[in-house]
Symmetry: C2
Subunit: 199 residues, 2 copies
Amino acid sequence: MKDKSAKTNFQIHELLTRRWSPRAFDAQKIEKEKLQRIFEAARWSPSASNEQPWHFIIGEKGDETFARIFETLVEFNQLWVKTAPLAGIIVGRENLLSNGKINFWYKYDVGQAAAHMSFQATHEGLFVHQMGGFDREKARELFHIPEGFEAISAFTIGYIGDYNVLHPNLQRLELEERTRKSTDEFVFSDNFGKKSELI
Amino acid sequence: MKDKSAKTNFQIHELLTRRWSPRAFDAQKIEKEKLQRIFEAARWSPSASNEQPWHFIIGEKGDETFARIFETLVEFNQLWVKTAPLAGIIVGRENLLSNGKINFWYKYDVGQAAAHMSFQATHEGLFVHQMGGFDREKARELFHIPEGFEAISAFTIGYIGDYNVLHPNLQRLELEERTRKSTDEFVFSDNFGKKSELI
């Protein structure tokens, strides 16, 4: 297995360095206790007015939910999601429970819950791969997601697998260097775009 | 200091249990090395097509950036943000760099970066308090945030302080029990709304 740990400029928590989004998963099922802790982690995420707008639909390989999630995926994702033992769709509630108005932060807060899920999964020795490449309206239809809720992302969780099982084009992605803008390019002071001297 | 650790149903990583959003901060400045690691953590967050739509504007108490961030806050937040040694505004890029179209996931991915920032801050012994209660258009004006970018949330980071310094109404909030829906209410299988048997 290639080491895909982040090549950081400053040393960060080992779970954040270790996290990445593989496509080759091992067939091994995820223990129920681990899934309980993973979604407990999402549960304690912060949210605007504590609205907790996150919902997860999850299925194990071989069950009806997994098959339906698979059906919503773009072909490229189907190529590799078939190796994963668990797939999910993350759904956000668009409106505030308090007054029914649109919640400006619902996607933002759902993203935070997804990060909490990933953090705990990494702690459990697992990997998460989030995907935008799925049909949100098909997900609404197949899972009867009501109006006012929206399917935002799909994901897989599993133990990492041997990348040699993947299609050659996907193997290449699995080995590719991970890249990010430097912090200078997104941490500012004084004005938007001006590099901060605080870091 | 009251223990506000999450009362979890399943044991999760200690950094997630310990994280909460205080209003009473200590005056102590945050070490530059810690800030470097905190934003390095945000840097390695995942994003759709690796677009990395997150930006942070940060100011230290006493500087011009902090004063301007403070000016954007609703009065309720001004009541306590004055105790914090560092304040920030998180800005998202709305459009895809690849083709200029709207990025459906930009707030979602900015939320993930905010969560990564919070994990690392917690690891450094610090606390983050995110806020929606600020004037996004005033932030745009004061920091010259261009069209196509949007101020999403404000935040403070600092060491925790003595809640007795706060206004009595805020002291009450600082002591309040933390609550969340149970995982049964947001982890589904088969159909949206149907409790999953996998957890």
